[in-house]
């Protein structure tokens, strides 16, 4: 019996119900007090038993960074690999085996700096993996250098007078890289985290989830304006719903004639003008315009939720479809035939 969510199709179901403790390893969790990683781990351990799949069929591959310690804390199969390469390694795992739920844990440096290429290629190929990108907008493990998501002017150990690198918008980048599932959530909203991660793992193909994650030591309060259910800057994207936000929905997202989006007071908005979110649009352009609502500097406003979720055959499924493994009894003779070739001669 295998799971029914498309993303988990082929993964066997657990015969006994599992609980959070089943996904808790015996290793002591070693993040700094107050680190946002704790919240994501807790949400993850809470979510896993709900999926119903066998624990032993879960594989978590991570890179290097504070967040990448994640697999050690989950009692499943896991690999803490090297910096930036987790998507490539996970591609191998997912392609070789259709019966595994494969997760990638990565950070903003791991995924977008050294690992940027593997990330965009995993997305375009649409490998059936679920990628959690812990974006704290800083290098945590190496003690506080700016990252590819740090805002311009950021003062860090390696930019004592402020960074001059224009940051990536991970959602825009993923959409530009042909991603079929792109979402964002935040460590401080457990329910949202759980909801988005559930949708992501249920998606067949590569699902990228950017998680805003606070690093109290090196970049404290980077997401302070997006914290809490009442945060004025959080634009919640709900598929099929008009996009309004702020206290009492006082702000609305509207589309200009040139297709770009902007935020106006709901009071001034013609309801017909308010953008209705469609995560399933075939064309990534609407999702892309939504991604541009995120501030490029210090964050005061940003959409969270699922930007895009479309069906596209996954890489690994297609690869497997092209392959036939001969029956064990026939494998050797088939191979012998290949090796002999068509052009042999015999010496007696």
């Amino acid at each position: 019996m295998t799971a029914t969510a498309p993303g988990l199709a082929g993964v066997p179901l657990s015969l006994t119900p599992l609980n959070r403790k089943d996904f808790t390893s015996d290793q002591e969790v070693r993040w700094c007090p107050g680190c946002g990683d704790y919240a994501v781990l807790a949400a993850f351990q809470g979510l896993m038993p709900q999926l119903g799949i066998k624990r032993e069929n879960t594989v978590i591959v991570s890179g290097i960074g504070c967040s990448s310690r994640f697999p050690y804390y989950v009692d499943s199969y896991g690999m803490h690999s090297i910096h930036g390469r987790a998507p490539a390694i996970a591609t191998g795992v997912a392609t070789a085996r259709s019966d595994l739920a494969v997760w990638v844990i990565t950070g903003d440096g791991d995924a977008l700096s050294i690992g940027g290429n593997h990330l965009i290629h995993a997305l375009r190929r649409n490998v059936n993996i679920t990628i959690l990108l812990f974006n704290n907008r800083i290098y945590g493990l190496t003690k506080g250098q700016y990252s590819p998501t740090s805002e311009l002017g950021k003062v860090t150990k390696s930019t004592p007078v402020g960074s001059v690198d224009h940051p990536f918008n991970p959602i825009s980048l993923a959409l530009g890289a042909e991603a079929s599932f792109v979402a964002r959530t935040i460590d401080s909203d457990r329910a949202h985290l759980t909801e988005v991660l559930t949708a992501a793992v249920g998606h067949r193909g590569a699902a990228l989830v950017e998680i805003y994650q606070n690093c109290p030591i090196f970049n404290d309060d980077a997401f302070i304006d997006l914290k809490g259910p009442k945060a004025p800057g959080v634009i919640r994207l709900v598929d099929g719903e008009p996009i309004t936000f702020g206290p009492d929905g006082s702000k609305s997202v509207v589309r200009a004639l040139d297709g770009t989006l902007s935020v106006i007071d709901t009071a001034d908005a013609d309801p017909a003008q308010v953008v209705v979110h469609d995560a399933h649009a075939a064309d990534p352009s609407p999702a892309f315009s939504l991604s541009r609502l995120t501030d490029t500097g210090v964050l005061q406003q940003s959409p969270i939720g699922i930007f895009r979720q479309v069906e596209r055959p996954s890489f690994d499924d297609q690869v497997r479809d092209q392959i036939t493994m001969p029956q064990p009894g026939e494998r050797m003779s088939a191979l012998q035939g290949l090796i002999n070739g068509s052009d042999t001669w015999t010496v007696n």
Binding site: I64, S76, S81, A88, I89, T91, V93, N117, V319, V347
Partner: protein, 622 residues
């Protein structure tokens, strides 16, 4: 006409523009040669450019085949016959010809303009500058075009059949059977009857031309070579390598997963395995070499046999991930089809200069086994051995081949897969009866247990941080680190204990000079040794498959000889490793020309060494 001379060996080089189909022509000639039971060895030589401007030296592509009625080891140093389809081909290859060689030239292209472009003021075919050679000029193109006139091809397509005309002529000259080529053309152009028929006509016309023209005073034949009984085929090193990997995976009952990024001269491994989808082989053309080895490692972790193939620059990029594989102790096969370096170097030329990188090219103490293939067919056995070591010892293994082996072909006695020993991947499938599962426990070979994802009760995490012995948990304990560093080294060193004893070849048993080689220099070394022995001198040879760890009995062998000579296509990498390990004064014999070592040069040099060392040794049969 009609007189047939028997000769024991011939070296022919086909040379022409990249678009002239010389590789195909050479390949066909080789196949027919194989059918006749000759031993043979080939050396394709590609230009660096895809299709450099027509008629330029840079655009010359050539294919050399050496065939004989005895067991030969190299494609030959110098061609007896050069087929030159244009003046550039003549110019590019002339300096390799020995005096008296036959030059067979297509005169069609020897126009004043073409010659001038190459810096010739006169036509070399006729100005007397080639008087040291036996020159035959024919308008092969014109003859071919005339032969295919009935098929109403365009001028270009008609002219293209000149290679088949030349092949027909050569087939006549060397008494090769026609049928193989006729069948081949029928198959290849099955969908284009005009082209098929034209090529067949050109080929036959070439053959008939030999028969009727009075230019050649004789034709030649080379008798079949005595070979051990068996079923033979022609095989290139890259094909044999791919098949060896497949055989290894099949013997282990695992799925083969290749992660690769195209690179000359390794791309064919990817191409060949990509065509083996009906054998369950997965291939992934990754975004780069790092992703390729990463995906292969992931596949190995998931329980497949992960393999990656590349050449020098790609190897450099893979090293960090290979170092992770060393730490994780996961099976992985890394194939390096070496080419001339450093940097981009000469991508289409061969070299053996990645040995250092293979053995020492990682940060930290990251030991792993390194093995090398010695001939095209031997790539099969070496690949199997790599799979065996990787799975038995849970370790990445580097397999060294090179451009010459990868593209070169030889007759190969096809092994019977049923006779090959099975390989047991030995995955752990059940939780221990008591106590916890220890993924970094050790068996008697110091290998660790492997439990693949999906195995209930054995869930565990592995990673690149130093791990505690036994549990594999993260550990920063100094004593544990020291223990683990030494343990990883001991595991690799221990591979030597399981190797069969080395076999030194020294027919007379009197040799005082030992020649030690590895990889593709096997051909030149063994051929040179044969020549040395024929001269009545004694020389011993030893060829190493295992380069790390070195075989246990190697030190004793080295110490038995007065001089140890190590011929390599590098600046002495194996020599240096042997010196360090055994404190024996191994002398490097180094050639770094992007070409196989010259057997005749080596033979002469070895004779000098021997004569100096053993001046009073009576030379038998001299």
């Amino acid at each position: 006409m009609g007189e047939v001379h028997s000769v024991d060996r011939v070296v022919i080089r086909f040379a022409g523009d990249s678009g002239d189909g010389m590789q195909l022509t050479g390949d066909r000639f080789t196949s027919d040669t194989a059918r006749l039971g000759n031993d043979f060895s080939t050396l394709p030589n590609f230009p660096a450019e895809i299709r450099a401007p027509q008629g330029t030296v840079a655009g010359v592509s050539s294919f050399q085949v050496h065939f004989a009625d005895f067991d030969i080891r190299t494609p030959g140093d110098r061609p007896d016959v050069l087929v030159a389809m244009n003046p550039a081909a003549l110019k590019a290859n002339l300096h390799d010809l020995p005096r008296g060689a036959v030059i067979l030239a297509d005169t069609a292209d020897f126009t004043t303009r073409n010659l001038a472009k190459l810096g010739y003021t006169d036509n070399p075919l006729t100005d007397g500058t080639l008087e040291a050679y036996e020159v035959h000029g024919f308008d092969l193109t014109g003859l071919a075009v005339a032969a295919v006139a009935p098929f109403r091809l365009g001028r270009k397509d008609a002219a293209r059949t000149k290679n088949m005309f030349a092949l027909g002529l050569l087939s006549w000259l060397y008494s090769r059977p026609e049928q193989g080529t006729l069948d081949f053309l029928a198959r290849k152009f099955a969908g284009k009857p005009d082209i098929r028929d034209a090529n067949i006509a050109a080929f036959k016309a070439g053959f008939a031309f030999g028969e009727t023209t009075e230019v050649f005073t004789a034709r030649y034949q080379v008798a079949s070579a005595p070979m051990p009984s068996g079923t033979y085929r022609q095989i290139t090193g890259n094909t044999a390598l791919a098949y060896g990997l497949m055989a290894g995976a099949a013997k282990a009952g695992l799925q083969l997963f290749l992660g690769a990024y195209p690179i000359t001269p390794a791309s064919d491994v990817l191409h060949i395995l990509s065509r083996a989808k009906d054998h369950g082989v997965i291939t992934l053309q990754a975004e780069d070499e790092i992703a390729a080895v990463g995906a292969a490692l992931g596949a190995s972790y998931a329980g497949a046999l992960g393999v990656t193939s590349t050449s020098g620059p790609g190897m450099a990029l893979k090293m960090e991930t290979i170092s992770l594989a060393v730490m994780l102790e996961l099976p992985l096969v890394i194939c390096d089809i070496q080419r001339a370096g450093p940097a981009t170097g000469m991508p289409t030329k061969t070299e053996q200069a990645d040995l250092f990188q293979a053995v020492y090219g990682r940060h930290g103490e990251a030991p792993l086994p390194v093995i090398a293939a010695q001939s095209p067919g031997d790539c099969f056995d070496t690949a199997l051995e790599a799979v065996r070591i990787a799975l038995t010892y849970r370790t990445p293994v580097i397999l060294l081949s090179d451009g010459y082996l990868g593209n070169g072909a030889e007759p190969w006695a096809v092994p019977s897969l049923a006779d090959l020993p099975a390989i047991d991947p030995g995955f752990v499938t059940e939780a221990p009866a008591e106590g916890e599962f220890l993924p970094y426990a050790r068996d008697e070979k110091l290998a660790r247990p492997l439990a693949i994802p999906g195995t209930p009760g054995l869930e565990h995490r592995i990673g690149g941080i130093e791990k505690a012995a036994g549990t594999g948990n993260v550990s920063y304990d100094p004593d544990n680190h020291e223990y683990m560093v030494r343990l990883r080294q001991a595991k690799i060193d221990g591979i030597a204990d399981d190797l069969p004893p080395l076999v030194v070849e020294d027919p007379s048993g009197r040799a005082k000079v030992l020649v030690v080689g590895w990889g593709s220099s096997y051909g030149p070394i063994s051929a040179a040794a044969r020549r040395v022995r024929l001269s009545g001198r004694a020389v011993a040879t030893l060829h190493l498959r295992h380069l790390n760890p070195l075989p246990a009995d190697l030190g004793d062998i080295l110490r038995r000889y007065d001089r140890v000579i190590v011929p390599e296509m590098n600046l002495g990498q194996l020599a240096m490793i042997l010196r360090a390990k055994y404190l024996v004064d191994c002398e490097s014999y180094s050639r770094v020309r992007g070409l196989p070592i010259s057997l005749s040069e080596l033979a002469e040099d070895l004779i000098d060494v021997i004569d100096e060392k053993t001046p009073n040794d009576p030379k038998e049969g001299r």
